[in-house]
Subunit: 473 residues, 2 copies
């Protein structure tokens, strides 16, 4: 965060009362139109002012020829969709109207081939900093704040994003357009999604303390191509990671990305290896795909971190249990050894024709909710078990999926529980998934992804323990 | 394949006229019931005979007290859901009734803790081999043959699996119950899914030549925990891979799986590293998750293998284009350099405010189908380009997704084309995905998965070139 910035400066992005769209359009193929549709469909409770010298009305909203024609003493937030060359003047207009936050969709700045772009961005930052205007962008798709019913992006369907404990800072709007569609049907949701774009005066390092200080945020994701000042990012992250988990997906292993990301959001990608080292030092959990980033953040937002490294696996189908065990072991964790009394309880319930040691095969009792829960309770009550990963595969209607019971066990024993479920859409397990996730148990569609989530919980366990002294058991 | 086995012996699994279910049940929670539901819901055109000494009718089908009471001269296929101890006698009954293929669902054989299981399985194999009965199982969920409308598994919803060019041999039923639900809505489908179970007398090595010889099969997947005779698997695969791509997902990196898979399907997992070396030698494409296995097989079934290593990436969103490029490069392929005339064509269409070299940013023209296709044609017509990976992100209705046009270009230039698409369910792009895949262009939900599919096409390109001499360009 620059010296002149404090947390309260960001308040304007969280609850603006008035939003103006500079460059509003009647053409549905233009961002000046889709931005207004986004605001409308998100149910934004404040007032929306389309600005365009040639229009009287946009999408049934009264339009104004210029910002100073709007009958409000001040405007909180400006979404700007003007040509890049008009931006410096537009920001001046914003300053005069008391605007304190701007979302600059316009491209053609530091990322452009032509050198004028970089110069233009510099000028933009100077005007903004002098006027105390915080900028998201330029060259951004915008941001979304679901709890505030505020979709300040050019993408109307992002209005359907559920509210929740996740935050995403993305240097690419495209990554959001791949990741967020699948999140529309998730039980878990977002506190904030920000497309950082060219980061004229707000970078990852500026946003991290804001998200750390927001009580709704429980896990932070970052998609990073490269930043101009990696040191400040690492310093900011170091202060955040003892409090909240931070997951980063950094591209740039190959040489093309290092070159190309300059032209994408005008930044140096830098050495992938150097970033990875810095991430480790800062307690950032590094991942290597957008799905892995989301999966890790979901687990970290819902479940406590692992206190040890001993994992139990129980599965209604043996193969996926083996797959999960494989990832647990190769990821540096241990398959828990049950104590004799736990093993005796399990052996009393499951016949000796399937595997009863860790990983436990629940196949023979897969239609008996009570027996499955008895086995899972035996496992969770074992002091030698630090976490439970359990896999469930749907065969037919009579197959048990004791969502409520499993949620109660997770609460009772306060150990991390992660679930994977294979089932066809339309089966009653779809509801079981919602019940589990509403009870803070993350559910994944494959054992591989569930096991990777357990690894993320273990990685954060280590980060968390090294920062904050905790009493030994 | 054992000496006594020939391809025609497998015909019985592809088009049986009569199927008996030994151990039929009226209880919907039992496999003896769900197996019959599977047969009924798949629309099996042959005759179904439930066998149970205590029932007159099961699911409106007339039941018979014993196999020899069925008024048919012979029965082709038997699905057996009896206790393991009744199996040897049941197989004897089958032999007398002319049965030539048996699906043995029953568990409690080589995989059981008790030693009697292994002995029982040996007896089973002896009786089966003497009678010329081919066994799928024991300890299997069954098999599915969608083109024959035959769901011979205990899982009724597998009847919804589409027919197509994929084949899956799985040592785990559980893996099928995770992988196949998502396949119910895929455009691409299956020729055959076989749960191998304990492999009493049919192993991977026996099935591979059968699938290689079936003209409907275009890509083969194997999920492997471990086999008793890895050499025969590798030998069989070596003969198949020059003709058809074989993708294998082998678990067992960790020590637990090595131990546990003995009790799962009664096999030795063996050293993971040794398997990997043997796979390479045999031209088997090794993957490390079930999703990666499916993604690779889908690309390999639909697209030609890469003839070179130079890949072009074009994306309507820069970030995902960078992600894909990163995977292409770190996976050992090269980012193509466009020839001057190609670059001039692209530069004539896209303004210099975004990246126009590989990876190409289509963002500025993302609402213009004609311009996008002109850029893609320029790329595909470049002799320095061996494959195209193209990423599309949906923003609003006006965004182009030229599915038909892209399909025509792929046909015209006969180079591998792989697509990733990010979009919300319910948007018109859902239909575009179907159009693309119906035209043999595989579509993936993330750039990472699309890039991994390109790597699989390149790996098979090398395997294919080393086996079959081809004319140089």
């Amino acid at each position: 965060m620059t010296e002149a910035t404090s947390l309260s400066d960001f308040e304007i992005f969280f609850s603006p009362s008035t939003v103006a769209v500079l460059g509003a359009s009647q053409d549905p193929s233009k961002y000046g139109n889709s931005c207004i549709r986004s605001l409308l469909t998100s149910g934004f409770p404040g007032r929306i002012y389309p600005i365009n010298p040639h229009l009287k009305e946009v999408l049934s909203l009264r339009a104004y020829p210029a910002l100073d024609a709007v009958p409000e003493a001040k405007i909180d937030l400006a979404i700007i969709v003007l040509p890049s060359t008009a931006l410096v003047q537009a920001l001046g207009d914003c300053a005069r109207k008391g605007v304190r936050g701007a979302v600059i969709i316009s491209a053609g700045f530091k990322e452009a081939e032509a050198k004028e772009g970089a110069e233009l961005q510099k000028q933009l930052a100077v005007v903004a900093n002098e006027s105390g205007i915080k900028i998201i962008g330029p060259n951004t798709f915008g941001y979304i704040n679901p709890p505030a019913h505020l979709n300040a992006s050019f993408t109307p369907y992002f209005s359907g994003l559920p509210a929740g404990p996740l935050a995403l800072l993305s240097q690419s709007g495209g990554v959001c357009h791949y990741l967020l569609p699948s999140c529309l049907n998730e039980t878990i949701g977002f506190r904030l999604v920000v497309g950082l774009g060219n980061r004229a005066n707000l970078d990852f390092a500026d946003w991290l303390p804001v998200l750390a200080g927001d009580h709704q945020v429980r896990a932070i994701m970052m998609y990073i191509e490269g930043v101009d000042d990696p040191r400040s990012l690492v310093e900011a992250a170091s202060r955040v990671t003892p409090l909240k988990p931070v997951v980063a997906y950094k591209v740039g292993r190959g040489s093309t990305v290092a070159k190309a990301s300059i032209s994408h959001t005008g930044s140096l990608a830098g050495s992938y290896a150097i970033y990875q080292g810095a991430f480790r030092q800062a307690g950032i959990i590094s991942v290597s795909s957008m799905v892995e980033m989301f999966d890790a953040a979901k687990a970290l937002a819902l479940q406590p971190p692992l206190k040890g490294s001993r994992v139990a696996v129980a599965s209604t189908v043996a193969g996926p249990g083996l797959i999960a065990s494989d990832i647990i072991e190769t990821g540096g964790l241990k398959m828990a050894t049950f104590c004799p009394s736990t093993q005796a309880k399990i052996d009393g319930i499951i016949a000796p024709i399937v595997a009863r040691r860790n990983p436990v095969d629940l196949g023979l009792i897969a239609t008996r909710e009570d027996l499955c829960l008895a086995v899972l309770e035996a496992i969770l009550s074992d002091n030698g078990v630090d976490a439970l990963l359990t896999c469930w595969a749907y065969v037919h209607e009579a197959y048990a999926m004791p969502a409520e019971g499993l949620a109660a066990l997770a609460r009772k024993y306060a150990k991390p529980v992660v679930v994977s479920m294979g089932y066809p859409q339309g089966s009653w397990w779809q509801k079981a998934k919602v019940i589990l996730e509403s009870n803070c148990i993350p559910v994944y569609p494959t054992p591989e992804r569930a096991a990777a989530a357990v690894l993320a919980l273990a990685r954060y366990g280590k980060i968390w323990q090294r920062k904050i002294p905790v009493l030994k058991d």
